[in-house]
Amino acid sequence: MKKRRLTTLLAIAAITPLALTACGSGGGGAKSGGDPDTLTVLDYYNNEPDKTLIQAAIDKCAEALDVKVKRETVPGKDLIQKVLQRSSSKTLPDVLMLDNPDLQEIAATGGLSPLSDYDIDTSGFAEGILDAATYEDEVYGLAPTVNTLGLFYNEDLLAAAGIQPPTTWDELKTAASALTTGDQYGLAFSAIATYEGSWQFLPFMWTNGGDETELETPEVAEALQLWVDLVDSGASSKSVLNWSQADVKDQFVAGKAAMMINGPWQIPALAESPDVKWGAVQVPVNEIGQTPIAPLGGEVWTVPVTGNDEKQGKAASFVECISSDDNQLELATQRFTVPTKTALADEYVEAVPTMEAFTEQVANARSRTGQLGEEWPEAATVIYTAIQLALTGQASVEDAFAQASAG
């Protein structure tokens, strides 16, 4: 008898966790609600040194606004899934960081509140980042700093070959070929079959007058031809097809590429190999006189709709604080990113001279979602597919985009 009761108990014990999982709303984590003086924050700075640097900025703003902050960080690739889960369970955080090309997609769900609701001044910010943060004429987020792409070069290798950093595509091709010897390629870039590949192609495409709304144009084809020429001539490795930007950086650091297209977020990693002396210039243009236009990268801070007006107000002040002038300069200096307020550019370049090329590049940079908004992912897919088709010889440069957009 005793034994039987025990089995019943065990059976019940076996069921209980199941029942609990069914009822629980997946609690824990940084969801809104609870203590009115505690703001919850969700971001993807889960690696050092960014994690600590952002934490310091958050702490500063929390102190200034006299609130407590509960922060949660997730890996970058998991953020959107997390946000979608949180929106369906109505547990969005008070403050949400988003990668700028994702903002419009999330704003379109109705999950974010426009900053005009809180009378936040959005003047003085670079136009590119405001474009990225705007959905249906309302600004939904602010970014303290942004990044972009430039051309890094190995000073020693260029000096040894007697080559100046290239400023035009012709110079780029000549320099890359001249710098290709033995194990070493002239130029490394990422043409991988992800959005990273599309992002790396944008400075060439935009600078030459190409546009994502109409990809089957001679301007876009010319830019693609440049990449094809670089790979076909052997000045760039065929492996660009499978290199992420981190791989590109590794090639550069290992001395296997004399130049690379990459962003300033690689600077801390470059600093770990002090024997590699590098410089950076803006991405070369097709013809002299063109303005280099690069894509704008970086994260925007937003205020999700949580239904608690008082806390949303505090969250808005928090977003304003985190992109204040002081914070911009501090974060930009520490993280090798560029302040989003154009007025701060001079002061910043004075403090961090290595960032000069990138700061200039940001002034003219464009956001990826400025024109297409939620349609951008489709265009980005077409772009990287076309690049891959052309670089593998599956399609001519003229046909690549038509073939890629066919689906």
Partner: protein, 327 residues
């Protein structure tokens, strides 16, 4: 919560309700009731409930949800508003009419067949090799399990650097024999082969383990008797090992097919479906539509097609099993 309370709650409820209608003497009634709701019976039900609940929650719900999702316009907006308009079979039409559908179906077939053949042949050879005992055989056999213990993300990242065209160790190795470097992951005509090779490497431990177990079950007397009749070496394999191993072989092959059809991490890690879509499979399409393009309806349609194909093999497996039992 209500579901789980059902069995324990229903018992007392009926015990109270029963006496009102009955004309039987109370003692008889109680005996009957006790028979019906004896602790033993309740316990039996309670033992089934966890399994049933588990299946409903973790298999039934996701599959039904996936089917429903594939009939809806399910996007990022749906998560916030909860609204997903019905679109009928539109998502399936999008899937089948997309340019990548047939290539990815062909790639899925090639990937599965290639992987299974490679894994099985090498797995069987190794299992037969380890059947005879020799010094360190146990140690070596356990070392074979290593690929299985490695997280697939780590494995694919390692293989990606091994297969790198310029600095990859494999091409360097081939280079010492004077061979040209092979564009493993950068040529559309080679990439699928490279991905299959890596997947074969991943699948060998599973095949060896199960087939080795099967070989151990074949009584040694059969080989002794066979040897007397002159069946040794290949003859012993064809006439003794193979027929006796057949049930295990069918399990290995069918489970292998189902596992391989849904392989995602290895391909994502190695090529992400590139170069130029050369390694797109149905699983990759489903993942990219859902989690890159946020077209969850289309992604669900892709994965349902994949589930259907798996189901086909599962049915073959079950029927084959039943036949064996009948025999």
């Amino acid at each position: 919560m209500s579901l789980t309370r059902l069995p324990s709650e229903s018992a007392p409820a009926e015990r109270e309700g029963a006496p009102r209608r009955s004309t039987l003497p109370p003692s008889e009634k109680r005996r009957r009731l006790r028979r019906q709701f004896s602790k033993e019976n309740i316990t039996k039900v309670l033992f089934v409930v966890p399994a049933a609940l588990y299946i409903v929650l973790f298999f039934g719900y996701p599959i039904v949800k996936n089917v429903v999702m594939s009939l809806q316009d399910y996007t990022t907006k749906t998560f916030f508003t909860g609204e997903a308009p019905w679109v009928g079979l539109d998502n399936y039409i999008t899937v089948v009419s997309s340019n990548l559908f047939w290539p990815s179906l062909t790639n899925t077939a090639l990937f599965t067949i290639g992987s299974i053949i490679g894994q099985f042949v090498i797995g069987l050879a190794l299992a037969a090799f380890f059947k005879r005992r020799f010094p360190l055989s146990n140690f070596l056999r356990s070392m074979l399990l290593l690929p299985w213990l490695l997280p697939l993300i780590v494995a694919s990242a390692t293989w990606r650097s091994i297969l790198d065209q310029d600095s990859g160790i494999l091409n360097r190795f081939l280079g010492t024999f004077g061979l040209d470097s092979v564009p493993w992951l950068t040529s559309p005509s080679v990439a699928l082969t490279a991905v299959i090779l890596v997947n074969i490497w991943v699948g060998i431990p599973f095949n060896v383990t199960i087939l080795y177990g099967g070989l151990q079950d074949i009584p040694d007397e059969l080989y002794e008797a066979g040897a007397l009749d002159g069946a040794t070496g290949w003859k012993a394999f064809w006439h003794i090992t193979w027929p006796n191993l057949r049930p295990v072989v069918s399990v290995v092959l069918l489970l292998g097919v189902v596992y391989t059809l849904k392989v995602l991490d290895i391909i994502l890690g190695l090529t992400n479906g590139g170069p130029a879509n050369a390694t797109q499979t149905l699983a990759i399409r489903s993942y990219q539509e859902s989690f890159v393009n946020f077209e969850f309806g289309v992604g669900a349609a892709f994965s349902n097609i994949l589930i259907l194909i798996s189901l086909l093999f599962a049915i073959i497996y079950l029927r084959a099993n039943r036949r064996q039992v009948d025999e």
